[in-house]
Symmetry: C2
Subunit: 238 residues, 2 copies
DNA sequence: AGGGTACAATGACATAAGTCAAAATCTGAT
DNA sequence: ATCAGATTTTGACTTATGTCATTGTACCCT
């Protein structure tokens, strides 16, 4: 039995309610299972897909952590998101039938692949699934709106505070500690996502640490004063 | 007969191929027409919808020009996009059944409203339409990725050059001049979208003007040297 | 266990873009 | 046509963040 090519089974999946099948009935999930593709392991540092790869499947993160990177011709890169358990990868590729960014595992991970052709067919006979999927696409648009707000209108401290609170909330939603977290990405990755340089991120973390909002030891972060941190997300935080 | 409440008819619409029905057969468009809601006029400065409004319809811009603005609690606002003829408004609202940004007409405009409930039903019986819509949602995600790149990794000059070229291309795609354009938005709007202050936008326009890339007279812009302008979009433009 | 490579922290300094202010221009209403 | 308010331009100055350089730390591989 090969871990790299295991059939996905949403029906018995522990994160079913965090993922694509959330809200579907047992029968519907069973139907979805019959159309699921394989399960796939991706080691830390490996690419799940790259710019230009033909688009065949959507991926649901089953375990682990990913980043998606948009590459600019002149070598610059922009991290457009970090994906954890239950989140979908590949939505950007539907438009052109090709992936337009790289997806890279930041720790040993596993994904469930969903053939998009089959998924669309299934959507035709399962209004619920299609509706959920429309919502997932819309949610991604909303998330990106919020990142635009962050990048376009916030100062560095606000950006980092938002980032940390968002990360904590996503952990909480997965029943993981939203107080102690280990960051899966480098300071440079955080900087890229937030439109800052790694030195700035490092300085801000030190500042939050010195001010007693966080305890930072390398990639281990402990949120000591969530309220105070949350206030730093906005201009008017006196 | 009231312009404010005219039945939409995609079948005879001049921008049919720029809009939602692009690529559909005549029969399919006919079916779509039967499910279209009303046509609606929006005067310059008016809101098509506001944050918190319940989501009932998607809107296709039939004529005119809109901006969408995301409001932050502390009063700051971020423009998340400018929409012209054939583009869809309201995609962000599917997720929560409520609009999460304001849509404001920047000139006298008209939109076609599409009841989303009916649209989803139609998608169930018309795979082509559903497929196109998935692509439209994905395209919006890609567009926002590119804005994130712009806001997160580019310098002010590059941002403005990108903005102008993008605008020109969208005009060209609509068979409008991509050389002479009149900007529908203020310098402040441009600045908000690009994460810059209006003074910076003004200075950059003056600079491009002085360098002979553009002719700028208020909101009339003429692109004199498209190639040179296109080069300014990237770091390595010596 | 040790040694090498990647990552992170910190200081000194540079600079792109922001801020504040004044003048110029445009626009729309009467 | 005229005026008032909105928008744009431009200048002088400030500042947040970037850049460069150094040292410190952690992690991975044999």
């Amino acid at each position: 039995m090969n871990l790299h090519d295991l059939k996905s089974v949403c029906g018995s999946c522990t994160i079913r309610e965090l993922c694509l099948p959330a809200g579907l009935s047992d029968e519907e999930v069973h139907l979805l299972d019959q159309h699921m593709d394989h399960r796939q392991v991706v080691s830390k540092g490996d690419y799940l897909y790259r710019v230009g790869d033909p688009f065949r499947s959507l991926f649901a993160v089953s375990s682990g952590f990913f980043k998606t990177v948009l590459l600019h011709e002149d070598g610059r890169g922009q991290i457009t998101g970090f994906q954890m358990m239950g989140e979908l990868l590949g939505l950007e590729a539907i438009h052109s039938d090709h992936h337009v960014c790289d997806a890279i595992a930041l720790e040993d991970s596993a994904v469930c692949a969903i053939s998009f052709d089959q998924f669309e067919q299934l959507g035709q006979i399962m209004a619920n699934l299609q509706h959920r999927f429309n919502k997932d696409l819309s949610r991604e648009i909303v998330r990106e709106h919020n990142v635009m707000m962050l990048l376009g209108s916030m100062r560095s401290e606000e950006r980092l505070a938002n980032f940390l609170i968002d990360l904590a909330d996503r952990h909480a939603h997965r029943h993981q500690s939203s107080v102690e977290m280990t960051l899966r990405m480098t300071r440079e990755d955080i900087g890229s996502y937030l439109g800052l340089k790694l030195e700035t991120v490092s300085r801000l973390l030190s500042r939050f640490h010195d001010e007693g909002l966080l305890e930072v030891r390398g990639r281990r972060v402990k949120i000591l004063d969530r309220n105070a941190l949350a206030l730093r997300r906005t201009e008017t935080h006196n």
